[in-house]
């Protein structure tokens, strides 16, 4: 879905040089380094497979598709990667809503490219999930049947053009904070897909920030539109990091397996700390009266999002859940004749080749 290194149009950099994109580079270098020192072959014939798996993970080596892995590790990865892939695909809808109404040809071309990227990221991730032994058809069906979830954020509507900017800045920003650590995930195909996703995303957040920056320095009406978008997207973006650590069901095991590297609350804090200065440069207000620097913690204190609302949206009662799923199902059904025609054409061509060969 999303990502970026948080650089702003007028040099509002967030943190250490290189920022998040630098971390992606570092994760990639680490992956190569781990591969280089990985002289450990497969398990010995009489070796305990679980111990072998633990040894590989502890040594920061990657688990690859045909390696033995615990069933629960496989299931967790399928669930997480599939949910991530579905999020990319559903995530095309809120932004796609503005392609035909983008304010200029340039903005339209950029938004089209961004939405196309989301489709691509969904496909990289589906391919990574398939290496775990589940088929694409099954994954698509699980989404259409509502048996697998996608990120709750895409169940909020995009009401104005400024929302496209807010999605880029806040939603893509939150997503990249989540995703950069996944570049170090213990499962090779997922880590590699995430490196690809995070690298490609370096334009997404920047384009969103630029849209907001332009509006925030425009007419009073444009400024108000930008502020309204930030007001509506701030808390849902904070909720993207999931429930607080105490209530997060999958976290501890995922951390032990090195699928996940940081807790939900740690990542949420990191995101807040990055956004404060970026908002100042935009000249927009983060809608939190209790947001202030805590010198003791060396971090910002902030108001938590409404987790009851998050649970309600996850369970299907967000503003756009039904619309998003109905749209996805219709798109899949409307595309079936294309898939059938392509398959029929491929079969015909194969038949002709056989005749020529015979």
């Amino acid at each position: 879905m999303y990502g970026n290194d948080f650089s702003a149009p007028d040099g509002a950099t967030d943190e250490a040089p290189g920022g998040l994109l630098g971390e992606v580079e570092a994760a990639e270098a680490e992956l190569r380094a781990a591969a280089a020192r990985g002289r450990r072959g497969g398990p010995a014939p009489d070796e305990d497979l679980a111990a072998y798996f633990a040894e590989v993970v502890d040594a920061e080596q990657k688990i690859e598709p045909r390696d033995w892995m615990p069933d629960a590790y496989r299931r967790t990865l399928i669930r997480q990667i599939a949910q991530h892939a579905h999020s990319e695909i559903i995530g095309m809808q809120p932004e796609g809503n503005w392609i035909s109404r983008a304010p200029s040809l340039k903005r339209k071309a950029i938004l089209l490219a961004k939405v196309q990227d989301e489709a691509g990221h969904g496909l990289y991730l589906y391919a990574a999930a398939e290496t775990l032994g589940i088929s694409r058809d099954e994954l698509v069906q699980l989404l259409l049947d509502g048996r697998q979830k996608y990120s709750s954020i895409f169940n909020y509507p995009t009401l104005s053009w400024a929302d496209v900017g807010a999605i880029g800045w806040l939603v893509d920003g939150a997503a990249i904070v989540n995703q950069v650590p996944l570049c170090r995930c213990s499962y090779g195909p997922y880590a590699r897909a995430m490196i690809r996703v995070c690298k490609e995303e370096s334009f997404h957040q920047r384009q969103g920030y630029e849209i907001l920056h332009t509006l925030a320095h425009g007419t009073p009406a444009q400024q108000a539109m930008a502020q309204d978008a930030v007001d509506r997207w701030w808390y849902p973006s904070l909720a993207m990091f999931g429930p607080p650590d105490g209530d997060s069901t999958h976290s501890a095991q995922s951390m032990a397996w090195k699928i996940k590297r940081f807790s939900n609350d740690d990542l949420r804090q990191r995101f807040v700390d990055m956004c404060v200065q970026q908002a100042e440069i935009l000249g927009l207000r983060i809608p939190d009266a209790d947001l202030r620097w805590n010198d003791e913690r060396q971090a910002y204190d902030y108001t938590q999002p409404d987790y009851d609302e998050l649970m309600q949206v996850i369970s299907g009662d967000g503003p756009c859940n039904r619309e998003r799923m109905a749209h996805r199902r219709a798109a899949h059904a409307d595309g079936s004749w294309v898939r059938e025609a392509a398959a029929a054409y491929a079969a015909k061509r194969a038949e002709q080749r056989e005749k020529v060969a015979a």
Binding site: E64, Y124, R136, D137
Partner: protein, 94 residues
């Protein structure tokens, strides 16, 4: 509703002079569409100058279970590496 398009593995040559490298996979009904899909999916930012697509089913892979036995014969042939040999001091161009 189901779609049984076969799976293809995609290899991209990033630049002239480099070998094709596996970048991922995709589904497509035939080779021609697999190539076009691979272009749209894996080279949106000029990542390649050449693409191979191979039906995933046509790849024969060594099994991880027999990995040790399979690669073992190479393990005791250190003399295949130039570092195995001791070179007397003062020898040039060796």
């Amino acid at each position: 509703m189901t779609d049984h398009s076969p799976l293809w593995e995609v290899f991209v040559r990033a630049r002239r002079g480099l070998s094709h490298t596996h970048v991922g996979s995709l589904h497509a009904p035939d080779a021609e569409l697999a190539l076009r899909n691979a272009r749209d999916l894996y080279t949106r930012r000029q990542e390649g100058v050449s693409i191979w697509v191979v039906p995933a089913g046509a790849i024969t892979a060594s099994s991880p279970d027999e990995k040790d036995a399979f690669f073992d014969p190479a393990a005791d042939k250190v003399y295949r590496h130039p570092t195995f040999y001791e070179v007397p001091d003062g020898v040039a161009h060796l």
